[in-house]
């Protein structure tokens, strides 16, 4: 460079100075602003999480400090009657688990069977009809399912088991319908997991003289276990957080019962009912929905984290 500069001094030194300025890094204010703005957009999600945790924690703290409710009472009690100062979360949690269990009994086997049928048996034509049907089912708002539970499922149950056995509001009808609600979720996630199993495994099985069923249930299904497990966990989390169906059909009043034909209020149902009325701030009722919300948030968060861990584990197997 120096040699070149000395041989043709004028022109080169001129160019050199020029290119130096031209190539010099200069701050691009617009670019930086845009990047910052975009980062802020991304950070909104963090703020949301912080907001949720902060709000739930703060109001729950008030609930436990000022409401005269001890943590042990809260987590062991089976009576939830704010009027007499009883706040036992099990009254609500039990109903949530009842609904979830019933929903799982419906959704898991059915969803898995549908997934196996779609991925291993169904012809392209059948698939092209069934998948949209399931998508439609998945796109229907939950309040519509609530209407369905109350106006069809409950009457059907009462018809079968008798009006004196089945109450008008009951966890069975709500649970079954929650099961129908999450069936498409289970089947589509499970189908994804089944489809992710490489075809060479199926070929190997068929090459050994396995039937379709043997291939599907004993090679493909075990190979997709973790994906299916993840689907199940997500389904459970979804059922626990489901609100409108239980708010409409499960019952309006905490009730610690194991009878699926009796009315019982779930955690989500309780939150909706309490906040649906004219809720005055800083009342014990107001604080209590945050405590319930915190429990709900923790349960679903843990389930979702587990499921994603399981999926990640599943990916490692074939890639």
């Amino acid at each position: 460079m120096a040699v070149g500069a000395s041989s043709r001094p004028e022109v080169t030194s001129q160019t050199d100075v020029d290119i130096k300025t031209q190539l010099r890094k200069h701050p691009r204010v617009g670019e930086t602003l845009i990047e910052t703005f975009l980062f802020v957009c991304g950070a909104v999600s963090i703020l949301t999480t912080i907001g949720i945790v902060f709000v739930l924690a703060k109001e729950s703290l008030l609930f436990f400090t000022s409401g005269g409710v001890s943590l042990t009472e809260f987590f062991t009690g089976t009576v939830w009657q704010p009027a007499i100062g009883k706040f036992g979360i099990w009254a609500l949690m039990n109903a949530t688990f009842m609904v979830t269990t019933i929903a799982m009994v419906v959704a898991l086997p059915l969803g898995l069977a549908v997934a196996i049928y779609l991925s291993e048996y169904a012809s392209l034509r059948v698939r092209s009809i069934l998948k949209p049907v399931l998508e439609v089912l998945a796109g229907i708002p939950t309040v519509v399912y609530g209407y369905f539970a109350l106006t069809l499922m409950t009457p059907v149950l009462r018809e079968i088991f008798g009006d004196d056995v089945v109450q008008i509001y009951n966890t069975a009808a709500a649970g079954i319908v929650v099961g129908i609600l999450i069936l498409p979720l289970v089947s589509s996630m499970a189908e994804d997991a089944l489809s992710a199993v490489p075809d060479s495994l199926r070929q190997a099985a068929f090459g050994l003289g396995a039937t379709k069923l043997e291939t599907a249930t004993r090679i493909v299904l075990p190979a997709a276990t973790s994906g299916i497990a993840a689907a199940f966990i997500v389904a459970i989390s979804r059922a626990i957080g489901e609100t409108m169906i239980v708010a409409i059909a499960a019952g309006a009043g905490p009730n610690f019962t194991f009878n699926p034909f009796n009315a019982a209020e779930t955690m989500t149902g309780h939150i909706v009912r309490i906040s649906g009325g004219d809720l005055s701030y800083d009342s014990i009722d107001y604080n209590s929905i945050f405590a319930i919300g915190l429990v709900l948030f923790c349960i679903t968060l843990v389930l979702n984290i587990i499921s994603r861990y399981v999926v990640a584990h599943f990916r490692e197997e074939y890639e």
Binding site: S200, R202, Q203, A204, F206, G207, L208
Partner: protein, 265 residues
Amino acid sequence: MSTNGTPTSNGKYALDLQDVHCYYGSFRAVKGVNLKLQEKKITAFIGPSGCGKSTVLRSLNRMNDLIPGGRVEGRILFRGKNLYDPDVDPVEVRRRIGMVFQKPNPFPKSIYDNIAWGAKINGFKGNMKELVEQSLRSAALWEEVKDKLDQSGLGLSGGQQQRLCIARAIATQPEIILMDEPCSALDPIATLKIEDLMRELVKNYTIVIVTHNMQQAARASDYTAYYLMDKSDRAGELVEYGETDQLFTNPKDKRTEDYITGRFG
């Protein structure tokens, strides 16, 4: 001598293909194959890519049934029975005519279960441990894996995995083993091991192998069938079939000669 046909031999026939045409939907991928496969011999299918070798191979144990639109016309006689008769169960065919694939595809199960599974579903009664050991020995894998039978088959090397797949196929006691480019994913040493293994196995089994490796065909096979795509309708056809030595040294068809001397294309 016709292009299709049977080399002179006094052995018995394991499979007899009579005017076989293979279709994918409305597309005819292979046309008019006549071929008699010699029992307890290695037959190699060679030919340029896309000429239908795999298609013919898959038609031999009805794996083509699994491809949507896959269809075979003509007759393939196995011990005098046409495999495509309506009363034939393809599942039973595949137990007797096993298959090894291009890419090793062990099940995500233990080595032991990889072998035992095929036997179990086919109703094997007897000493499973013995069967596993015997199959692994036959596949020349026993010494390498005998201490880790309960480990995943996916943990083996590529060559070992392919031998595991061969052992898996042997365990169901087939009569014929079909291999579709079994060595294409393997290094030369592993390839040689498989070739040795084939020479060993052919004492008890009829073997059909698809290969792009001319040396492998020349080295390892007893008979060779050469396929080529007919440019006019893009359907593969059998050009020449004969004893390997003869086909490689003295091809009858000009096209075969072009191919094996590398003047193809």
